[in-house]
Amino acid sequence: MSNTPEEVEFELRAHVGSLWTGGRLFIGIYTFLIASLAFSYFYLRSSNNSDLWRPNHVTAPTAYGWSIYGMMMGAGILAYFGQTRLRKGQVADWFVACWTGVGLGVVALFLQIWELVVLNFYPGSSGYASTFVGFVVFNIISLTLGTYWLETCVARAHRMGFEMGEGAVLANTSAGRSFRANVASMTYFWGFLGLSGTMFLLMFYVL
């Protein structure tokens, strides 16, 4: 198989482009997934069958909700900040920001699971209760995916440093370019999680 410099560059650009396209398409897939949940919320709210959409305006534990949201936003902001620092060549800042983000993501995940244990209503007691449990399931999936993606980026950066030398993540090698494209898509995903998290916070905890 021929590997001329032009072919190598072509395939590298295709690979980097795939990370870009794939990251955005993944957000598209996720949008339709959470839109289904949002649709369910508004559908059950407007139909209010048996007057059981939200009896007594029951609300999930607000402290948990705000804490999880805060940590999720924190992880997202740190991922974005980290990427900004990485682009300026500050790899150490990127490591600190992203490891902190991973920590926040893990704690948020555990809190989100724990919230199911301390729920102040039965899952099937109302439309709100049902959609809230559905939201928790999707949020667990979101936090798992986002934190996983963030952690794998950081782990990859460490390994590249061990195997290819310090500054490998900044180098103009194929591994470096691929890595930075992956980080960019991951940051974009966290931005999306922040937006969707804000929307659901308003729906389930504020309104």
Partner: protein
């Protein structure tokens, strides 16, 4: 800027792979056997865990069923399956920063088909086996249905068993049909047709296949669990009242949905990014346009199914009330979520068929494709509009009547881009020199069948007509004409056309003709009478009917048996042509201009020795002096069969 020769992915030459493809693989190297073993172990662990958690739940005591155990058993079984086949190796390795460079190379010989392969050609052939397994399983269930309907008063099955057979048949067929062309033919040929050496995400591609097979096993598990009575549409509140087989249905759909999303994701990203230099959008083969439109639907519509299935599982396992009217939920919610996916789903099935016939017609008409851009626009238009028609499935469910005219309009509008496909076909065939090879026969049959199916769809989209025909055999016949008459015939066309490329062997023409004519004639004899049966009032999914309709039902059933036999003929043709008396295929048996035919047979691991530079589209038949497809100065590997 210096470009390093260092390669970013596992496609790179492995400079220091610790594994040799020449070393025999151990018994517990990951393959289908370890996947089955891990799935069984996972299933047992999940079942034990569920019993441990929920043995004293009120619902367990009340119903005698432990839905938590059922669900966890299936979940752990699927996870075990994926672990056992090696699908999770790379995601786990990424946690410690590993890239894919130290993965084993693909196994040699036939064992590669039983393993997690990142070679898109291997995955394509795996998918052929997978979809044929689905097809034959559900086909046997169809034979059971037609046997029951031979007599309205003498019954082979109880009513409960009958509806569960119908439900299982429909669900397996619909799950199979989601990937019947994208899976085998899309995965195998899209990279070849766009001049790429690989897929964008080979591991995700392989993951989609093994998830697809896991979904099959999950949905098949419904039978030993007692089945589910809702038909493939799974409507609430019957869904919430059903037994443990419903868990298999809901979870099976979620798993298949995951497979669909990943398959569509991978192929869409590949088409966007990996087109060879010179392959502008106006030179992309029409089959690839079809796959791209389908992939868009697979990625964006399937999440709604995943969500709907998740909510259904939560209702059964966690006692939420998404679909329970009495507790603040709504059975209409399921219908809306399901059909928001369900209508794009049927176009996920139709569009690849259009792509296949659009690709084949120029070859067998020896004429350029008429209206290439119209064809692409038609498929994209159908895909786009398919998101705006879903409520035509629930006209009679009690939706707001003011919504009906809107969805009637959008549904009738979708026949316009579909009509483009027919115009393109007619224009290509007009004044052409047709060669009636078997792929061409199946392509022509698609046009015939889909014309009937499509027109009857326009009738049912009309609300007043829908009032009388909803839930009848008319609707059943309509969708069998479009899905089986369209998609399955296109699949056969594609197989007969492309199997020589995939295997180096021609399918036997004489047996193929028997297969085609038997299938085409008896398909029409099976399903056309059902339009009449439906108009005369026979509802679907019910095993009794008016005695006066027995003649037509018997005619349909006997034709169905022969239609089923036509698949046996196909299977025999496969066995005969591949193993018993193989006939080696020439390099390009159809004289196609397609790029996939410019590679060697068998296709090398990385498809092209050199990345081709595309200079034209592949439809310039009978145009002497047309610019060639590929710049031969940087051509792909030599053609010609290599033993």
């Amino acid at each position: 800027m210096t470009i390093s020769a260092e390669r970013p992915t596992e496609v790179a030459t492995h400079s220091a792979s610790p594994y040799s493809s020449k070393k025999p693989r151990g018994w517990f190297s990951q393959h289908l056997g370890t996947a089955l073993l891990a799935a069984i172990i996972g299933y047992l662990i999940g079942h034990w865990l569920g019993n441990h958690i929920a043995w004293n739940y009120p619902t367990t005591a009340a119903t005698g069923q432990n839905y938590v155990a059922n669900f966890l058993a299936l979940l752990f079984g699927v996870v075990g399956w994926l672990l056992g086949i090696g699908a999770l190796n790379y995601p786990l390795a990424k946690l410690v920063g590993r890239s894919g460079e130290h993965e084993p190379e693909e196994a040699d010989g036939i064992s590669k088909y039983f393993r997690y392969s990142t070679n898109h050609k291997t995955v394509g052939i795996q998918y052929i086996v997978g979809v044929l397994l689905f097809l034959f399983t559900a086909g046997l269930l169809a034979m059971a249905i037609r046997t029951e309907l031979l007599n309205p008063t003498t019954h082979v099955f109880s009513p409960d068993t009958y509806i569960k057979i119908v439900s299982e048949h429909g669900t397996i067929m619909m799950m199979m049909a989601t990937s019947i062309i994208v899976g085998p033919l899309g995965n195998y040929f899209v990279p070849l047709m766009i001049g790429s050496r690989r897929m964008a995400f080979p591991r995700i591609e392989a993951f989609s296949f093994w998830t697809f097979t896991a979904g099959y096993m999950v949905i098949f598990s419904a039978l030993p669990y007692g089945g589910f009575p809702t038909g493939w549409t799974g409507y609430a509140p019957l869904q919430t009242q059903a037994g443990p087989g419903m868990i298999s249905y809901l979870f099976g759909f979620a798993v298949i949905g995951l497979g669909m999303m990943t398959a569509g994701f991978n192929v869409a990203v590949t088409i966007v990014n990996y087109r060879a230099p010179g392959m502008t959008w106006s030179r992309v083969p029409v089959f690839v346009w079809g796959i791209l439109a389908t992939a868009a639907l697979m990625t964006l519509a399937t999440p709604a199914l995943f969500a709907a299935g998740t909510f259904g599982l939560l209702d059964l396992v966690n006692q939420t009330a998404f679909y329970v009217n009495e507790h603040g939920g709504s059975s209409y919610l399921w219908q809306n979520l399901f059909w928001f996916f369900g209508h794009p789903e049927v176009y996920i099935m139709a569009i690849p068929g259009f792509g296949v016939v659009g690709e084949l017609l120029p070859v067998f008409c020896r004429k350029p494709l008429f209206g290439y851009k119209v064809s692409a626009a038609g498929m994209i238009g159908v895909a786009l509009l398919s998101f705006f028609v879903w409520q035509h499935h629930i006209f009679q469910s009690g939706i707001n009547p003011d919504m009906r005219p809107l969805f009637m309009l959008t549904t009738e509008m979708i026949s316009i881009p579909t009509g483009f496909i027919f115009l393109v076909g007619l224009g290509t065939m007009y004044k052409s020199k047709m060669r009636f090879e078997i792929p061409m026969l199946f392509s022509l049959a698609l046009y015939f069948n889909f014309l009937i199916g499509g027109l009857t769809g326009v009738f049912i989209s009309d609300v007043p007509v829908n009032v009388t025909l909803h839930g009848s055999f008319f609707v059943l016949s309509h969708f069998h004409y479009t899905i089986m008459g369209g998609l399955v015939f296109a699949f056969m066309a594609g197989l007969y056309y492309w199997l020589p490329k995939m295997t180096g062997k021609m399918m036997n023409k004489k047996i193929g003709l028997w297969h085609f004519w038997t299938m085409f004639i008896f398909f029409n004899l099976t399903f056309f009478p059902m339009f009449i049966i439906g108009m005369l009032g026979q509802p679907r999914r019910v095993f009794t009917y008016a005695k006066s309709l027995q003649g037509l039902n018997d005619f349909s059933s006997i034709s169905a048996y022969i239609l089923g036999f036509s698949f046996i003929i196909f299977a025999w043709n496969l066995m005969y042509s591949m193993y018993i008396k193989p006939e080696m295929a020439p390099a390009n048996p159809w004289d196609s201009l397609g790029l996939e035919w410019q590679t060697a047979t068998p296709v090398p691991r990385h498809n092209f020795d050199r990345i081709p530079v595309i200079t034209n589209d592949p439809y310039h038949y009978a145009e002497p002096g047309a610019t060639p497809l590929v710049d031969r100065g940087q051509s792909s590997s030599s053609s010609g069969y290599q033993a």
